[in-house]
Amino acid sequence: MRSEPVVQVQALVKRYGDKTAVNGLDLRARAGVTAVLGPNGAGKTTTVETCEGYRRPDSGTVRVLGLDPVRQSRELRPRIGVMLQSGGVYSGARADEMLRHVARLHAHPLDVDALIERLGLGSCGRTTYRRLSGGQQQRLALAMAVVGRPELVFLDEPTAGLDPQARRATWDLVRDLRADGVSVILTTHYMDEAEQLADDVAIIDAGRVIAQGSPEELCRGGAENTLRFTGRPGLDIGSLLKALPADCAAAELTPGSYRVVGKVDPQLLATVTSWCAQHGVMPDRISVERHTLEDVFLELTGKELRS
Protein backbone atom coordinates (compact mmCIF):
# COMPACT_ATOMS: atom_id res chain seq x y z
CA MET A 1 0.00 0.00 0.00
CA ARG A 2 1.18 3.52 -0.69
CA SER A 3 2.49 5.34 2.29
CA GLU A 4 1.92 8.94 1.20
CA PRO A 5 -1.22 10.45 2.69
CA VAL A 6 -4.40 10.49 0.61
CA VAL A 7 -5.56 13.54 2.54
CA GLN A 8 -3.32 16.07 4.21
CA VAL A 9 -4.84 19.02 6.00
CA GLN A 10 -2.61 21.52 7.74
CA ALA A 11 -3.68 24.35 10.01
CA LEU A 12 -7.06 24.61 8.29
CA VAL A 13 -9.24 27.53 9.35
CA LYS A 14 -12.75 28.06 8.02
CA ARG A 15 -15.17 30.69 9.27
CA TYR A 16 -18.78 31.39 8.41
CA GLY A 17 -19.40 35.00 9.30
CA ASP A 18 -18.18 35.39 12.86
CA LYS A 19 -18.52 31.68 13.62
CA THR A 20 -15.33 29.64 13.38
CA ALA A 21 -16.25 26.16 12.14
CA VAL A 22 -12.73 24.81 11.79
CA ASN A 23 -9.96 26.25 13.93
CA GLY A 24 -6.43 25.23 12.96
CA LEU A 25 -7.18 21.62 12.11
CA ASP A 26 -4.48 19.11 11.16
CA LEU A 27 -5.46 15.80 9.65
CA ARG A 28 -3.43 13.19 7.86
CA ALA A 29 -5.25 10.26 6.33
CA ARG A 30 -3.33 7.33 4.91
CA ALA A 31 -4.59 4.78 2.41
CA GLY A 32 -7.34 2.70 3.98
CA VAL A 33 -10.42 3.72 5.92
CA THR A 34 -10.31 6.84 8.08
CA ALA A 35 -13.26 7.69 10.31
CA VAL A 36 -13.81 11.26 11.39
CA LEU A 37 -15.70 11.32 14.68
CA GLY A 38 -17.04 14.28 16.55
CA PRO A 39 -20.08 15.81 18.21
CA ASN A 40 -22.56 17.81 16.17
CA GLY A 41 -21.09 21.09 15.03
CA ALA A 42 -17.52 19.94 15.63
CA GLY A 43 -16.51 20.80 12.05
CA LYS A 44 -16.61 17.34 10.46
CA THR A 45 -18.69 18.25 7.44
CA THR A 46 -16.85 21.53 6.88
CA THR A 47 -13.54 19.67 6.91
CA VAL A 48 -14.75 17.00 4.51
CA GLU A 49 -16.38 19.55 2.21
CA THR A 50 -13.15 21.51 2.09
CA CYS A 51 -11.38 18.34 0.96
CA GLU A 52 -14.06 17.83 -1.70
CA GLY A 53 -13.39 21.32 -3.07
CA TYR A 54 -16.71 22.86 -1.98
CA ARG A 55 -15.19 25.31 0.48
CA ARG A 56 -12.19 27.55 0.14
CA PRO A 57 -10.01 27.53 3.27
CA ASP A 58 -9.69 30.90 5.04
CA SER A 59 -6.16 29.77 5.85
CA GLY A 60 -4.13 26.58 5.94
CA THR A 61 -3.48 24.05 3.24
CA VAL A 62 -5.49 21.08 2.01
CA ARG A 63 -4.12 18.40 -0.31
CA VAL A 64 -6.20 15.49 -1.54
CA LEU A 65 -4.33 12.82 -3.52
CA GLY A 66 -1.59 15.45 -3.65
CA LEU A 67 -3.86 18.01 -5.34
CA ASP A 68 -5.35 21.33 -4.27
CA PRO A 69 -9.12 20.63 -4.22
CA VAL A 70 -10.02 24.16 -5.35
CA ARG A 71 -7.30 25.01 -7.86
CA GLN A 72 -6.84 21.51 -9.25
CA SER A 73 -10.47 20.54 -8.97
CA ARG A 74 -10.70 19.44 -12.58
CA GLU A 75 -7.96 16.84 -12.13
CA LEU A 76 -9.20 15.78 -8.73
CA ARG A 77 -12.94 15.37 -9.38
CA PRO A 78 -12.77 12.24 -11.55
CA ARG A 79 -10.58 10.56 -8.93
CA ILE A 80 -12.87 11.05 -5.92
CA GLY A 81 -16.39 9.87 -5.11
CA VAL A 82 -18.66 12.01 -2.99
CA MET A 83 -21.65 11.05 -0.86
CA LEU A 84 -23.34 14.13 0.55
CA GLN A 85 -25.16 14.01 3.87
CA SER A 86 -28.45 14.35 2.00
CA GLY A 87 -29.90 15.12 -1.40
CA GLY A 88 -27.91 15.41 -4.59
CA VAL A 89 -30.49 13.81 -6.87
CA TYR A 90 -33.16 15.32 -9.16
CA SER A 91 -36.44 14.90 -7.30
CA GLY A 92 -38.06 13.55 -10.47
CA ALA A 93 -35.32 11.06 -11.34
CA ARG A 94 -35.53 7.32 -10.74
CA ALA A 95 -32.72 5.64 -8.81
CA ASP A 96 -31.37 3.64 -11.75
CA GLU A 97 -31.66 6.63 -14.06
CA MET A 98 -29.60 8.86 -11.79
CA LEU A 99 -26.99 6.17 -11.15
CA ARG A 100 -26.65 5.47 -14.87
CA HIS A 101 -26.26 9.19 -15.45
CA VAL A 102 -23.40 9.55 -12.96
CA ALA A 103 -21.82 6.44 -14.51
CA ARG A 104 -21.92 8.15 -17.93
CA LEU A 105 -19.86 11.04 -16.58
CA HIS A 106 -16.98 8.62 -15.95
CA ALA A 107 -14.64 6.84 -18.32
CA HIS A 108 -14.63 3.36 -16.72
CA PRO A 109 -17.69 3.11 -14.48
CA LEU A 110 -18.75 0.03 -12.51
CA ASP A 111 -21.44 -2.24 -13.89
CA VAL A 112 -24.56 -0.29 -12.90
CA ASP A 113 -26.90 -3.29 -12.77
CA ALA A 114 -24.56 -5.19 -10.46
CA LEU A 115 -24.26 -2.18 -8.17
CA ILE A 116 -28.04 -1.73 -8.09
CA GLU A 117 -28.41 -5.38 -7.14
CA ARG A 118 -25.67 -5.21 -4.57
CA LEU A 119 -27.22 -2.27 -2.74
CA GLY A 120 -30.77 -3.55 -3.02
CA LEU A 121 -31.90 -0.67 -5.18
CA GLY A 122 -33.60 -2.94 -7.70
CA SER A 123 -36.86 -2.73 -5.80
CA CYS A 124 -37.05 1.05 -6.37
CA GLY A 125 -38.37 0.38 -9.86
CA ARG A 126 -40.02 3.41 -11.41
CA THR A 127 -40.30 5.32 -8.14
CA THR A 128 -38.85 8.81 -8.37
CA TYR A 129 -36.26 10.04 -5.85
CA ARG A 130 -38.60 12.16 -3.74
CA ARG A 131 -40.77 9.10 -3.04
CA LEU A 132 -37.93 6.74 -2.11
CA SER A 133 -37.49 5.82 1.56
CA GLY A 134 -34.70 7.51 3.49
CA GLY A 135 -32.68 4.31 3.40
CA GLN A 136 -33.07 3.95 -0.37
CA GLN A 137 -32.00 7.57 -0.85
CA GLN A 138 -28.90 6.95 1.29
CA ARG A 139 -27.94 3.82 -0.61
CA LEU A 140 -28.41 5.59 -3.95
CA ALA A 141 -26.11 8.38 -2.78
CA LEU A 142 -23.56 5.75 -1.74
CA ALA A 143 -23.82 4.03 -5.11
CA MET A 144 -23.30 7.39 -6.86
CA ALA A 145 -20.12 7.91 -4.85
CA VAL A 146 -18.52 4.64 -5.95
CA VAL A 147 -19.85 4.10 -9.49
CA GLY A 148 -17.03 6.09 -11.13
CA ARG A 149 -14.34 3.74 -9.69
CA PRO A 150 -12.64 6.45 -7.65
CA GLU A 151 -9.39 6.14 -5.69
CA LEU A 152 -10.83 7.94 -2.71
CA VAL A 153 -14.41 8.08 -1.45
CA PHE A 154 -15.85 10.65 0.97
CA LEU A 155 -18.90 9.43 2.88
CA ASP A 156 -20.65 11.99 5.08
CA GLU A 157 -22.62 10.04 7.71
CA PRO A 158 -23.33 7.15 5.34
CA THR A 159 -25.48 5.11 7.73
CA ALA A 160 -27.34 7.85 9.61
CA GLY A 161 -30.92 6.68 10.06
CA LEU A 162 -30.45 3.31 8.32
CA ASP A 163 -31.98 0.09 9.60
CA PRO A 164 -29.54 -2.62 10.80
CA GLN A 165 -29.62 -4.59 7.53
CA ALA A 166 -28.89 -1.54 5.42
CA ARG A 167 -26.11 -0.56 7.79
CA ARG A 168 -24.54 -3.99 7.35
CA ALA A 169 -24.80 -3.68 3.58
CA THR A 170 -23.06 -0.31 3.72
CA TRP A 171 -20.34 -1.66 6.02
CA ASP A 172 -19.78 -4.64 3.73
CA LEU A 173 -19.37 -2.35 0.77
CA VAL A 174 -16.87 -0.17 2.63
CA ARG A 175 -14.88 -3.31 3.53
CA ASP A 176 -14.90 -4.44 -0.11
CA LEU A 177 -13.77 -0.99 -1.26
CA ARG A 178 -10.92 -1.12 1.22
CA ALA A 179 -9.95 -4.63 0.14
CA ASP A 180 -9.78 -3.46 -3.47
CA GLY A 181 -7.52 -0.54 -2.58
CA VAL A 182 -10.04 2.29 -2.47
CA SER A 183 -9.44 4.74 0.37
CA VAL A 184 -12.43 5.93 2.35
CA ILE A 185 -12.91 8.99 4.54
CA LEU A 186 -16.14 8.73 6.48
CA THR A 187 -17.73 10.92 9.10
CA THR A 188 -19.94 9.25 11.63
CA HIS A 189 -21.67 9.56 14.97
CA TYR A 190 -21.56 5.82 15.53
CA MET A 191 -18.62 4.53 17.54
CA ASP A 192 -19.26 0.93 16.54
CA GLU A 193 -19.06 1.99 12.90
CA ALA A 194 -15.66 3.56 13.43
CA GLU A 195 -14.48 0.56 15.48
CA GLN A 196 -15.67 -1.90 12.85
CA LEU A 197 -14.48 -0.15 9.73
CA ALA A 198 -11.67 2.25 10.39
CA ASP A 199 -7.93 1.70 10.21
CA ASP A 200 -7.58 5.15 11.64
CA VAL A 201 -9.87 7.39 13.67
CA ALA A 202 -9.66 11.16 14.02
CA ILE A 203 -11.72 12.72 16.80
CA ILE A 204 -12.69 16.31 16.08
CA ASP A 205 -14.05 18.73 18.62
CA ALA A 206 -14.57 22.47 18.36
CA GLY A 207 -12.89 22.63 14.98
CA ARG A 208 -9.68 20.76 15.85
CA VAL A 209 -8.45 17.17 15.81
CA ILE A 210 -8.05 16.27 19.47
CA ALA A 211 -6.96 12.64 18.99
CA GLN A 212 -5.97 10.46 16.09
CA GLY A 213 -4.86 6.85 15.80
CA SER A 214 -6.08 3.34 15.21
CA PRO A 215 -9.12 2.34 17.31
CA GLU A 216 -6.82 0.09 19.40
CA GLU A 217 -4.32 2.87 20.01
CA LEU A 218 -7.03 5.28 21.03
CA CYS A 219 -8.62 2.78 23.40
CA ARG A 220 -5.29 1.95 24.97
CA GLY A 221 -3.82 5.41 25.15
CA GLY A 222 -4.41 7.24 28.43
CA ALA A 223 -7.63 5.51 29.29
CA GLU A 224 -7.47 3.17 32.27
CA ASN A 225 -8.85 -0.33 32.05
CA THR A 226 -10.24 -2.66 34.63
CA LEU A 227 -9.58 -6.27 35.61
CA ARG A 228 -12.05 -8.09 37.87
CA PHE A 229 -11.96 -11.47 39.54
CA THR A 230 -13.65 -13.28 42.37
CA GLY A 231 -12.00 -15.42 45.03
CA ARG A 232 -12.38 -16.11 48.72
CA PRO A 233 -13.14 -13.02 50.78
CA GLY A 234 -10.47 -11.12 52.69
CA LEU A 235 -7.44 -11.59 50.46
CA ASP A 236 -4.41 -9.44 51.33
CA ILE A 237 -4.78 -6.43 49.04
CA GLY A 238 -1.52 -4.91 50.30
CA SER A 239 0.42 -7.94 49.10
CA LEU A 240 -1.35 -7.81 45.74
CA LEU A 241 -0.51 -4.13 45.37
CA LYS A 242 3.16 -4.86 46.02
CA ALA A 243 3.16 -7.35 43.16
CA LEU A 244 1.47 -4.91 40.80
CA PRO A 245 3.12 -1.99 38.97
CA ALA A 246 3.14 1.23 40.99
CA ASP A 247 0.37 3.04 39.07
CA CYS A 248 -2.23 0.32 39.65
CA ALA A 249 -5.03 0.37 42.19
CA ALA A 250 -6.71 -2.66 43.73
CA ALA A 251 -9.70 -3.08 46.02
CA GLU A 252 -12.14 -5.65 47.36
CA LEU A 253 -15.43 -4.13 46.29
CA THR A 254 -17.74 -6.58 48.00
CA PRO A 255 -16.57 -9.60 49.97
CA GLY A 256 -14.81 -11.91 47.50
CA SER A 257 -15.09 -9.55 44.54
CA TYR A 258 -11.88 -7.79 43.53
CA ARG A 259 -11.02 -5.04 41.11
CA VAL A 260 -7.68 -3.95 39.70
CA VAL A 261 -7.56 -0.63 37.81
CA GLY A 262 -4.61 0.36 35.65
CA LYS A 263 -2.95 -0.29 32.33
CA VAL A 264 -4.28 -3.76 31.66
CA ASP A 265 -1.90 -5.66 29.41
CA PRO A 266 -0.83 -9.33 29.17
CA GLN A 267 1.91 -8.71 31.73
CA LEU A 268 -0.56 -7.38 34.30
CA LEU A 269 -2.86 -10.34 33.75
CA ALA A 270 0.07 -12.73 34.30
CA THR A 271 1.06 -10.85 37.46
CA VAL A 272 -2.42 -11.13 38.93
CA THR A 273 -2.85 -14.82 38.09
CA SER A 274 0.59 -15.78 39.44
CA TRP A 275 -0.11 -13.81 42.63
CA CYS A 276 -3.34 -15.80 42.92
CA ALA A 277 -1.41 -19.06 42.38
CA GLN A 278 1.08 -18.16 45.10
CA HIS A 279 -1.79 -17.54 47.52
CA GLY A 280 -3.76 -20.62 46.54
CA VAL A 281 -6.59 -18.56 45.10
CA MET A 282 -8.65 -19.72 42.19
CA PRO A 283 -9.58 -16.45 40.41
CA ASP A 284 -13.12 -17.28 39.32
CA ARG A 285 -14.86 -15.10 36.78
CA ILE A 286 -11.72 -13.25 35.87
CA SER A 287 -12.57 -10.61 33.30
CA VAL A 288 -10.95 -7.69 31.59
CA GLU A 289 -12.96 -4.61 30.72
CA ARG A 290 -11.35 -2.67 27.96
CA HIS A 291 -12.37 0.83 27.16
CA THR A 292 -14.46 1.20 24.08
CA LEU A 293 -14.04 3.97 21.57
CA GLU A 294 -17.18 5.44 23.03
CA ASP A 295 -15.54 5.76 26.48
CA VAL A 296 -12.56 7.45 24.88
CA PHE A 297 -14.77 9.72 22.85
CA LEU A 298 -16.84 10.81 25.82
CA GLU A 299 -13.74 11.26 27.93
CA LEU A 300 -12.21 13.54 25.31
CA THR A 301 -15.23 15.51 24.21
CA GLY A 302 -17.06 15.69 27.53
CA LYS A 303 -20.24 13.98 28.57
CA GLU A 304 -22.53 16.98 28.70
CA LEU A 305 -24.99 17.43 25.89
CA ARG A 306 -24.37 20.39 23.71
CA SER A 307 -26.47 22.07 21.19
Partner: protein, 256 residues
Protein backbone atom coordinates in the same frame (compact mmCIF):
# COMPACT_ATOMS: atom_id res chain seq x y z
CA UNK B 1 -22.55 -11.21 -5.35
CA UNK B 2 -19.56 -9.12 -6.25
CA UNK B 3 -16.21 -10.76 -6.83
CA UNK B 4 -12.95 -9.43 -5.49
CA UNK B 5 -11.41 -6.72 -7.61
CA UNK B 6 -14.71 -5.15 -8.67
CA UNK B 7 -13.89 -1.83 -7.05
CA UNK B 8 -10.21 -1.56 -7.96
CA UNK B 9 -9.81 2.13 -8.80
CA UNK B 10 -9.91 3.08 -12.45
CA UNK B 11 -10.86 6.73 -12.36
CA UNK B 12 -11.37 8.97 -15.33
CA UNK B 13 -13.75 11.55 -16.75
CA UNK B 14 -15.86 10.65 -19.76
CA UNK B 15 -15.12 12.73 -22.89
CA UNK B 16 -16.63 16.22 -22.55
CA UNK B 17 -19.12 15.96 -25.43
CA UNK B 18 -20.45 12.71 -23.98
CA UNK B 19 -20.83 14.24 -20.51
CA UNK B 20 -22.65 17.29 -21.86
CA UNK B 21 -24.91 15.18 -24.08
CA UNK B 22 -25.79 12.90 -21.16
CA UNK B 23 -26.49 15.88 -18.93
CA UNK B 24 -28.64 17.61 -21.57
CA UNK B 25 -30.61 14.41 -22.15
CA UNK B 26 -31.29 13.98 -18.43
CA UNK B 27 -32.27 17.63 -17.96
CA UNK B 28 -34.67 17.42 -20.92
CA UNK B 29 -36.19 14.25 -19.54
CA UNK B 30 -36.72 15.90 -16.16
CA UNK B 31 -38.39 18.94 -17.77
CA UNK B 32 -40.72 16.83 -19.90
CA UNK B 33 -41.60 14.52 -16.99
CA UNK B 34 -42.61 17.33 -14.66
CA UNK B 35 -46.36 17.99 -14.74
CA UNK B 36 -46.21 21.59 -13.52
CA UNK B 37 -43.55 22.37 -16.11
CA UNK B 38 -45.69 20.95 -18.90
CA UNK B 39 -48.63 23.02 -17.72
CA UNK B 40 -46.51 26.15 -18.11
CA UNK B 41 -44.66 25.29 -21.28
CA UNK B 42 -47.25 23.35 -23.28
CA UNK B 43 -50.78 23.49 -21.96
CA UNK B 44 -51.11 27.19 -21.11
CA UNK B 45 -49.60 28.51 -24.40
CA UNK B 46 -51.61 26.16 -26.63
CA UNK B 47 -54.84 26.73 -24.70
CA UNK B 48 -54.43 30.51 -24.91
CA UNK B 49 -53.70 30.26 -28.62
CA UNK B 50 -56.71 28.09 -29.34
CA UNK B 51 -59.06 30.02 -27.05
CA UNK B 52 -58.24 33.58 -28.09
CA UNK B 53 -58.01 32.68 -31.79
CA UNK B 54 -61.46 31.18 -31.87
CA UNK B 55 -63.37 33.23 -29.29
CA UNK B 56 -63.44 36.98 -29.78
CA UNK B 57 -62.48 38.08 -26.24
CA UNK B 58 -59.66 40.53 -26.86
CA UNK B 59 -59.66 43.09 -29.67
CA UNK B 60 -56.49 42.15 -31.53
CA UNK B 61 -56.81 44.84 -34.18
CA UNK B 62 -57.16 44.37 -37.90
CA UNK B 63 -56.74 41.00 -39.57
CA UNK B 64 -57.18 37.48 -38.26
CA UNK B 65 -56.77 37.07 -34.52
CA UNK B 66 -54.43 34.10 -34.99
CA UNK B 67 -51.99 36.24 -37.00
CA UNK B 68 -51.73 38.56 -34.01
CA UNK B 69 -51.72 35.80 -31.40
CA UNK B 70 -49.30 33.22 -32.84
CA UNK B 71 -46.18 35.46 -32.52
CA UNK B 72 -47.20 36.41 -28.97
CA UNK B 73 -47.68 32.76 -28.03
CA UNK B 74 -44.26 31.90 -29.48
CA UNK B 75 -42.79 34.61 -27.24
CA UNK B 76 -44.74 33.18 -24.30
CA UNK B 77 -43.42 29.69 -25.07
CA UNK B 78 -39.84 30.97 -24.98
CA UNK B 79 -40.47 32.78 -21.69
CA UNK B 80 -42.18 29.77 -20.10
CA UNK B 81 -39.22 27.48 -20.79
CA UNK B 82 -36.16 29.74 -20.63
CA UNK B 83 -37.36 31.85 -17.72
CA UNK B 84 -40.12 30.33 -15.61
CA UNK B 85 -39.38 26.64 -16.12
CA UNK B 86 -35.63 27.00 -15.91
CA UNK B 87 -35.79 29.24 -12.84
CA UNK B 88 -38.05 26.86 -10.92
CA UNK B 89 -36.19 23.69 -11.92
CA UNK B 90 -32.76 25.16 -11.21
CA UNK B 91 -33.95 26.68 -7.93
CA UNK B 92 -35.05 23.28 -6.66
CA UNK B 93 -31.91 21.57 -8.00
CA UNK B 94 -29.93 24.03 -5.95
CA UNK B 95 -32.13 23.47 -2.92
CA UNK B 96 -31.89 19.67 -3.10
CA UNK B 97 -28.11 19.60 -3.57
CA UNK B 98 -28.22 18.44 -7.20
CA UNK B 99 -26.02 21.30 -8.34
CA UNK B 100 -23.72 20.65 -5.39
CA UNK B 101 -23.40 16.95 -6.15
CA UNK B 102 -22.78 17.57 -9.84
CA UNK B 103 -20.14 20.14 -8.93
CA UNK B 104 -17.96 17.32 -7.53
CA UNK B 105 -18.55 15.12 -10.58
CA UNK B 106 -16.20 15.24 -13.59
CA UNK B 107 -18.67 17.52 -15.43
CA UNK B 108 -17.35 21.11 -15.30
CA UNK B 109 -19.75 23.88 -14.31
CA UNK B 110 -19.75 25.43 -17.73
CA UNK B 111 -20.58 21.98 -19.11
CA UNK B 112 -23.59 21.84 -16.82
CA UNK B 113 -24.75 25.28 -17.96
CA UNK B 114 -24.22 24.31 -21.61
CA UNK B 115 -26.33 21.21 -21.06
CA UNK B 116 -29.07 23.27 -19.39
CA UNK B 117 -29.13 25.64 -22.35
CA UNK B 118 -29.27 22.71 -24.76
CA UNK B 119 -32.22 21.19 -22.94
CA UNK B 120 -34.04 24.55 -22.95
CA UNK B 121 -33.48 24.76 -26.71
CA UNK B 122 -34.75 21.20 -27.25
CA UNK B 123 -37.96 21.95 -25.34
CA UNK B 124 -38.35 25.22 -27.28
CA UNK B 125 -38.04 23.43 -30.60
CA UNK B 126 -40.84 21.08 -29.53
CA UNK B 127 -42.93 24.07 -28.40
CA UNK B 128 -42.38 25.97 -31.63
CA UNK B 129 -43.42 22.93 -33.67
CA UNK B 130 -46.54 22.44 -31.56
CA UNK B 131 -47.57 26.12 -31.62
CA UNK B 132 -46.89 26.36 -35.36
CA UNK B 133 -48.98 23.29 -36.15
CA UNK B 134 -51.91 24.51 -34.04
CA UNK B 135 -51.68 28.06 -35.41
CA UNK B 136 -51.56 26.82 -39.00
CA UNK B 137 -54.61 24.67 -38.29
CA UNK B 138 -56.35 27.83 -37.04
CA UNK B 139 -55.59 29.61 -40.32
CA UNK B 140 -52.32 31.36 -39.48
CA UNK B 141 -50.45 32.87 -42.44
CA UNK B 142 -46.94 33.72 -41.26
CA UNK B 143 -44.85 36.28 -43.16
CA UNK B 144 -41.25 37.41 -43.09
CA UNK B 145 -37.81 35.88 -42.95
CA UNK B 146 -37.45 32.71 -40.81
CA UNK B 147 -33.84 33.63 -39.94
CA UNK B 148 -34.99 36.89 -38.39
CA UNK B 149 -37.50 34.87 -36.37
CA UNK B 150 -34.75 32.46 -35.29
CA UNK B 151 -32.50 35.34 -34.23
CA UNK B 152 -35.31 36.82 -32.13
CA UNK B 153 -36.04 33.47 -30.48
CA UNK B 154 -32.37 32.88 -29.66
CA UNK B 155 -31.85 36.36 -28.21
CA UNK B 156 -35.10 36.03 -26.28
CA UNK B 157 -33.88 32.71 -24.87
CA UNK B 158 -30.61 34.30 -23.79
CA UNK B 159 -32.39 37.21 -22.11
CA UNK B 160 -34.87 35.00 -20.24
CA UNK B 161 -32.24 32.40 -19.30
CA UNK B 162 -30.07 35.05 -17.68
CA UNK B 163 -32.99 36.39 -15.65
CA UNK B 164 -34.24 32.92 -14.73
CA UNK B 165 -30.82 31.73 -13.59
CA UNK B 166 -30.27 34.96 -11.67
CA UNK B 167 -33.48 34.31 -9.76
CA UNK B 168 -32.74 30.58 -9.23
CA UNK B 169 -29.20 31.24 -8.05
CA UNK B 170 -29.99 33.95 -5.53
CA UNK B 171 -33.46 33.33 -4.05
CA UNK B 172 -34.75 30.41 -2.00
CA UNK B 173 -36.40 27.70 -4.07
CA UNK B 174 -39.88 28.49 -2.71
CA UNK B 175 -39.41 32.20 -3.38
CA UNK B 176 -38.26 31.42 -6.91
CA UNK B 177 -41.30 29.21 -7.44
CA UNK B 178 -43.67 31.96 -6.34
CA UNK B 179 -41.85 34.84 -8.03
CA UNK B 180 -41.29 33.04 -11.33
CA UNK B 181 -44.98 32.17 -11.58
CA UNK B 182 -46.04 35.70 -10.65
CA UNK B 183 -43.69 37.25 -13.19
CA UNK B 184 -44.96 34.80 -15.81
CA UNK B 185 -48.54 35.89 -15.14
CA UNK B 186 -47.75 39.62 -15.08
CA UNK B 187 -45.72 39.49 -18.26
CA UNK B 188 -48.37 37.35 -19.94
CA UNK B 189 -50.88 40.11 -19.33
CA UNK B 190 -48.67 43.18 -19.64
CA UNK B 191 -46.14 42.06 -22.23
CA UNK B 192 -48.12 42.23 -25.44
CA UNK B 193 -48.61 38.46 -25.61
CA UNK B 194 -52.38 38.36 -26.01
CA UNK B 195 -53.34 41.92 -25.10
CA UNK B 196 -51.97 44.52 -27.55
CA UNK B 197 -49.74 47.04 -25.78
CA UNK B 198 -51.72 49.96 -27.26
CA UNK B 199 -54.61 49.01 -24.96
CA UNK B 200 -52.51 50.35 -22.06
CA UNK B 201 -52.14 54.06 -21.16
CA UNK B 202 -49.33 55.86 -23.04
CA UNK B 203 -47.10 56.22 -19.99
CA UNK B 204 -47.39 52.51 -19.20
CA UNK B 205 -46.74 51.59 -22.84
CA UNK B 206 -43.30 53.18 -22.93
CA UNK B 207 -42.23 51.23 -19.84
CA UNK B 208 -43.89 47.95 -20.81
CA UNK B 209 -42.30 48.19 -24.25
CA UNK B 210 -38.86 47.82 -22.65
CA UNK B 211 -39.69 44.43 -21.08
CA UNK B 212 -38.02 41.44 -22.72
CA UNK B 213 -41.37 39.75 -23.32
CA UNK B 214 -42.75 42.88 -25.07
CA UNK B 215 -39.63 43.21 -27.21
CA UNK B 216 -39.83 39.55 -28.18
CA UNK B 217 -43.56 39.48 -28.94
CA UNK B 218 -43.39 42.85 -30.73
CA UNK B 219 -40.37 41.81 -32.77
CA UNK B 220 -41.91 38.47 -33.74
CA UNK B 221 -45.16 40.21 -34.66
CA UNK B 222 -43.30 42.76 -36.79
CA UNK B 223 -41.81 39.97 -38.83
CA UNK B 224 -44.43 37.24 -38.78
CA UNK B 225 -47.58 39.40 -39.01
CA UNK B 226 -46.38 42.39 -40.98
CA UNK B 227 -43.49 40.87 -42.94
CA UNK B 228 -41.12 43.49 -41.55
CA UNK B 229 -37.30 43.36 -41.80
CA UNK B 230 -34.86 43.30 -38.89
CA UNK B 231 -36.64 44.72 -35.81
CA UNK B 232 -33.47 46.45 -34.57
CA UNK B 233 -35.12 48.19 -31.65
CA UNK B 234 -36.52 44.97 -30.23
CA UNK B 235 -33.30 43.05 -30.91
CA UNK B 236 -31.41 45.78 -29.07
CA UNK B 237 -33.67 45.55 -26.04
CA UNK B 238 -33.30 41.74 -25.95
CA UNK B 239 -29.52 42.00 -26.34
CA UNK B 240 -29.42 44.49 -23.47
CA UNK B 241 -31.41 42.17 -21.17
CA UNK B 242 -29.21 39.23 -22.23
CA UNK B 243 -26.00 41.01 -21.31
CA UNK B 244 -27.33 42.33 -18.00
CA UNK B 245 -29.10 39.10 -17.02
CA UNK B 246 -26.32 36.68 -17.91
CA UNK B 247 -23.64 38.90 -16.37
CA UNK B 248 -25.62 39.28 -13.15
CA UNK B 249 -26.36 35.53 -13.04
CA UNK B 250 -22.67 34.78 -13.59
CA UNK B 251 -21.73 37.18 -10.83
CA UNK B 252 -24.33 36.39 -8.17
CA UNK B 253 -25.30 32.74 -8.77
CA UNK B 254 -24.75 30.66 -5.64
CA UNK B 255 -24.41 26.93 -6.14
CA UNK B 256 -25.72 25.94 -2.71
Amino acid sequence: MTSAGTYVPKPGAAPLPRMIAAQAALETKMLLRNGEQLLLTVIIPTLLLALFSTVDIVDTGEGKAVDFLAPGILALAVMSTAFTGQAIATGFERRYGVLKRLASSPLPRWGLMTAKTASVLVVEVLQVILVTVIALALGWSPQGNPFTVLLLLVLGTAAFSGLGLLMAGTLKAEATLAAANLVFLLLLVGGGVIVPLDKFPDAAQSVLGLLPISALSDGLRDVLQHGGGMPWGDLGILAGWSVVGLAAAGRFFRWE
